[in-house]
């Protein structure tokens, strides 16, 4: 992008290529080109203008985000669900998040609500150990609703500040699995009104336009309250996030930049749009 000195039919093709290669996607690419034609983005070089337009798309979404409920009442644990498609990085993100929250002085607990996948419970157990946190786990094949129920009871009994609920990966196209997730939210809410207080949808930065469908479907089914984008330490730019944020108004809470416990950092929209064309 930086090699383009002005906007004309010749360079529009190069701008388009740079946008697409970052996974920005047809709808958003068209929105950017339209904005460029209207003279938006400031008077500077095309690269600066494109970045400004992309940032503006993120900061001025088409709809306002769902209102995040009140936090839990005094003395009750905050319940955070991690949801998303298979392999996106939910379990690893839970492990990293626990460390972040603990460093803020909060007492964290895990609920291993993925009772389906081979060794899912053991995987969460390792992260609980790394963090020195308590974990509520049932055996493989157990009812995930029972795990959530027991975990909230345990979190209250132990005076935990935060309960991280790691759920099984699922494709949004699977009606029964989405129904199960809705039920897990209900189980939590019946036991602790307002729970889950945060529903984080975990997205993989290497995914293409399907991430838009994920945000739409998980969003409408559950009332997702925030996004996490993982695997931004690779060469994938995660540009699909621009359209996803513009469309949903959802805040991006964290980004994953590696497999280690410290590899979770707060999202910075400006840094993100700057990095898209590096």
């Amino acid at each position: 992008l930086s090699g383009i000195s002005r906007i004309d039919p010749e360079s529009i093709g190069d701008i388009e290529e740079a946008l697409y290669m970052a996974d920005i996607g047809p709808v958003t690419v068209e929105a950017v080109l339209e904005a460029l034609r209207r003279g938006e983005g400031g008077g500077e070089s095309p690269a600066v203008r494109v970045r400004a337009i992309l940032l503006s798309l993120m900061e001025h979404p088409a709809q306002s985000p769902p209102v995040k409920g009140q936090g839990p009442p005094e003395g009750e644990p905050e319940v955070i669900f991690l949801v998303g498609v298979n392999g996106a990085g939910k379990t690893t993100t839970a492990g990293k998040l626990a460390s972040r929250l603990a460093s803020e002085g909060r007492k964290v607990m895990f609920a291993a609500a993925d009772t389906f996948r081979a060794a899912a419970g053991e995987q969460v157990e390792v992260w609980a150990e790394r963090n020195g946190c308590h974990i509520v786990r049932h055996q493989e094949g157990a009812d995930p609703g029972a795990v959530v129920f027991d975990a909230i009871a345990s979190a209250r009994a132990r005076g935990a500040d935060v309960l991280l609920v790691d759920t099984a990966g699922r494709l949004h196209t699977k009606k029964n699995l989405m129904a199960e997730l809705i039920k897990l939210c209900r189980v939590a809410g019946r036991q602790l009104p307002g729970a889950p207080h945060e529903i984080l949808l975990v997205l993989d930065a290497t995914s293409g336009q399907n991430a838009l469908a994920q945000v739409r479907e998980f969003g409408s089914a559950l009332g997702v309250t925030g996004l996490v984008v993982t695997k931004l330490d690779g060469s994938a730019k995660g540009g699909v996030l621009i359209g996803a944020v513009h469309e949903s108004g959802l805040p991006v809470r964290w980004i994953g930049v590696g497999e280690g416990i410290d590899d979770l950092i707060p999202f910075d929209a400006k840094a993100f749009t700057d990095a898209l064309f590096e």
Partner: protein, 292 residues
């Protein structure tokens, strides 16, 4: 889908006879848009469009089939040809153990696919040894051991071992010694930009001397598919691709990108989380899925 959008273009055309420049350009724009929406890599899509231009120009509007149908058929045929003939078969060594190595990005479905392959081979009465060579991810070895049990296969016990190259070497030795038909090596997910891990993968390959190296890739992979295919292909040499999570609604344009950049066939497709959710790749089905 694409057909409706093309019908919109041709409806306004009064002429008869073969399609003119203007109609062809309009059609190619719609086709390119469909490919980009489907996550086909930008450069791959550009090359593809340039190549099918000739096929579209020859289309006769007076012919029996309406022009938009003919255009869609021509594009589908070109995609099917690109993605290569019927899904190529899994390699089988002429004698002794056939070693299969699964590689790819984090979370793409390698471990699950290793279990699926094992089950498929077990159903043919073959003896399979699974080699859990991922020492990085928490409980990865246990995950593969559990899948081995479900598949009726054996698992090399790498618990407590620290060196993935040594694991591969010992597992393949055991497979040979105990006359297994197949040895399937599951590796840790890694990024092609991580030089140390790509070097490790090269060493693992040298230790395994695999007959089959499959890139396990998520069907929802975006533009990155080109970088992924190129880098893994160059680092270890691929013999095939396995596309996972095809039971979702990702259009799967990564299939086109991967085939174009690696030159190897997509051999198998994952269509679910259970071990029996494995199918052969069908280029015609993939082509119509991509065009939407």
């Amino acid at each position: 889908g694409l057909r409706d959008r093309l019908t919109g273009i041709f409806r306004d055309i009064r002429s008869r006879g073969v399609l003119g420049e203007r109609e062809v350009d309009a059609a190619l724009r719609e086709i390119r848009l469909a490919l980009l929406e489907a996550d086909v890599n930008f450069k791959v899509a550009k090359d593809f469009i340039a190549r099918i231009r000739g096929d579209i120009i020859g289309i006769d509007q007076a012919a029996h089939l309406d022009p938009s149908q003919q255009v869609v058929k021509a594009v589908q045929a070109a995609l099917v040809e690109l993605m290569g003939g019927r899904g190529a078969e899994l390699e089988k060594a002429s004698s002794g153990v056939t070693t299969v190595m699964l590689v790819g990005l984090q979370g793409s479905g390698k471990t699950t696919s290793a279990g699926k392959l094992a089950l498929r081979l077990r159903k043919r009465g073959l003896r399979v040894l699974l080699a859990p060579a991922d020492v990085a991810r928490p409980a990865a070895i246990l995950q593969l051991k559990r899948l081995a049990e479900l598949a009726g296969a054996d698992a090399f016990d790498s618990e407590g071992m620290k060196d993935p190259v040594a694991i591969v070497r010992s597992a393949v030795e055991r497979a040979k010694r105990e006359h297994y038909d197949y040895c399937i090596v599951d590796t840790a997910g890694r990024m092609q930009v991580d030089e140390a891990l790509m070097d490790e993968l090269r060493l693992m390959k040298e230790a395994a001397l695999p007959h089959e190296v499959l890139l396990v890739a998520d069907a929802m992979t975006g533009q990155e598919a080109v970088n992924l295919g190129e880098a893994f292909g160059e680092a270890v040499g691929l013999t095939g691709v396995m596309l996972t999570k095809m039971d979702g609604d990702a259009r799967g344009g990564a299939a086109v990108s991967l085939r174009a950049v690696t030159g190897v066939p997509i051999k198998l497709v994952g269509v679910g989380e259970k071990l029996d959710a494995l199918e052969e790749f069908h280029p015609e089905r993939m082509a119509s899925r991509i065009l939407g």
